[in-house]
């Protein structure tokens, strides 16, 4: 598995896979294939994909440790940046198709509607993470501080879930929200459990190490 993941084509392949949902939506947008309310479809789908990528990126470390495939760490940065990519498209779609890029109206809307405020806060918090994802930033910050900063993603995942929960609250329709919440809870719970285990038996399994890959 490690060998496969280290293959030179592995990264480009994952990159293309991550871009597929966007390509599919863009294709739909240009061919009138997004249903009766294309704007709503686009906004909701990009929100869904943001949440999915956050789950995927949070799954990297548990999978790496459990399956002892260290090569997985090479993909973490790209997956995280795709989460950011989809949230940017999500925010842009809302700003453009829902609000017509009327900046004062957007500012008012964000302040007025708690679920949008929560989503927007999550986006703002994710921005420094995306901005410090390159190697020089890691060196400049120092691994320790960089890692502390990037632990923000746990809180961001929570805010993203709250945003989704609130969006669905008016319809009392939480089934999907609970699925995402269960996934995030499992992935974060594993971290708590794993670090407790490591404290008992230090150096048993290395975890959470910053990987400086090229």
């Amino acid at each position: 598995m490690n060998k496969l993941l280290l293959h030179p084509a592995a990264k480009p392949l994952v990159f293309v896979l991550c871009l597929l949902p966007f390509a599919w939506l863009a294709y739909g947008a240009f061919t009138d294939g997004l249903g009766a309310n294309p704007a709503e479809h686009l906004i909701r789908s990009t929100g869904d994909w943001t949440l999915r990528f956050i789950c995927i990126v949070l799954a990297v470390t548990p999978l790496r440790v459990m399956t002892r495939t260290n090569a997985l760490a090479r993909f973490r940065r790209m997956l995280g940046l795709f989460a950011y990519f989809y949230v940017v498209v999500h925010l842009l779609s809302y700003s453009l198709f829902d609000m017509g890029f009327d900046i004062p109206a957007i500012a008012k809307d964000i302040a007025k509607r708690p679920f949008i405020l929560v989503g927007f806060t999550a986006f703002v918090l994710l921005t420094p993470l995306a901005a410090t994802s390159f190697n020089r930033a890691i060196k400049a910050l120092g691994a320790k501080r960089w890692q502390t900063l990037h632990k923000l993603v746990y809180g961001i995942a929570g805010l993203g879930l709250l945003h989704f929960f609130w969006m669905r609250a008016g319809k009392n329709n939480f089934a999907e929200v609970f699925v995402y919440a269960a996934i995030v809870a499992t992935l974060l719970g594993w971290r708590v459990w794993n670090s407790a285990r490591n404290r008992k038996a230090p150096r048993a399994v290395p975890t959470g190490r910053v990987q400086l890959s090229k």
Partner: protein, 269 residues
């Protein structure tokens, strides 16, 4: 199902009709699923014959109406109404039916009948989402007597010259064009005349978000979004369709404004 062009004031908007395909595939009908694409997929199981509508409560002539007798009760009219969903989208739909008032006059309500309650079908065998905890089933709705008697309030059996597709509320539904869409109960099995304001499905689920009246009003926001504008479904420009300004009472103020004279619409939302 054909209807004569209605002569009721406000019943013939000249706006471009929503395409049949959109009006029948983008629906809120939670008994068949909460996604707007669900009803068209799942509503095929609904059995619309035999069907009876029971009229009961504070009336001199309660009774059970077979659906085919109910259709023949009064002349079918075609009415082109704007439909504004509380979620911020809208359509223009040619409905077929007659004023609910025609039925109400025939059953002769007592003087103390102040409200009309609509009870809709909740059949777990044919409706896969009845039993989910999204709403308190059966879905019920209600109108004040003067709203129910207003000529624009339509008892509808068809749309686009055909009988109602299942996902649009077959075989009989209410259409109240100046209120948010969820006030227009679908697949009605009981019409009950009562003295006190009846509970309604969405009001019971989230009272601070959905009031009994739920008149379309651009100045009273939903707690989670603005109601100032709406997106007209399928108005041609696709993704870049400009949002329309929402009108008070969905543009039917001239016809229905007097029903609410002196009422604080922010309080009675």
């Amino acid at each position: 199902l054909k209807g004569e062009k209605s002569a009721v004031a406000g019943a013939q908007t000249m706006e471009k009709l929503t395409e049949y395909k959109d009006a029948t595939s983008y629906n809120n009908y939670y008994e068949f699923g909460t996604d707007k694409g669900d009803p068209v997929k799942n509503a095929g199981t609904l059995k619309t014959r035999p069907w009876t509508v029971e009229v009961e409560g504070l009336v001199k002539k309660p009774g059970k109406y077979g659906i085919d007798d109910l259709i023949k009760l009064s002349a079918q009219e075609e009415r082109i109404y704007r439909l504004r969903c509380v979620e911020g989208w809208s359509m223009v739909i040619p409905w077929v039916g007659y004023s609910l008032a025609e039925l109400i006059k025939r059953v002769e309500p007592h003087g103390n009948a102040k409200y009309v309650e609509f009870v809709t079908l909740a059949d777990p065998k044919t409706m896969p989402f009845v039993g989910s905890r999204v709403l308190d089933w059966p879905y019920t709705e209600g109108l004040r007597m003067d709203e129910a008697m207003h000529p624009l309030t339509l008892l509808s059996f068809g749309m686009y010259g055909e009988v109602l597709p299942n996902q649009n509320g077959a075989p009989v539904r209410i259409v109240v064009p100046w209120k948010y869409g969820f006030k227009s109960a679908k697949s009605i099995v009981k019409i009950r005349f009562v003295e006190k304001e009846p509970g309604t499905a969405w009001n019971k689920a989230a009272a601070q978000e959905y009031g009994f009246y739920s008149n379309v009003n651009p100045d009273v926001d939903h707690p989670r979004w603005s109601q100032a504008t709406e997106r007209r479904i399928g108005d041609g420009s696709g993704l870049f369709a400009k949002r329309h300004k929402t009108l008070l009472f969905n543009g039917y103020e001239a016809q229905v404004g007097q029903l609410y004279a002196g009422m604080d619409l922010k309080k009675f939302y």
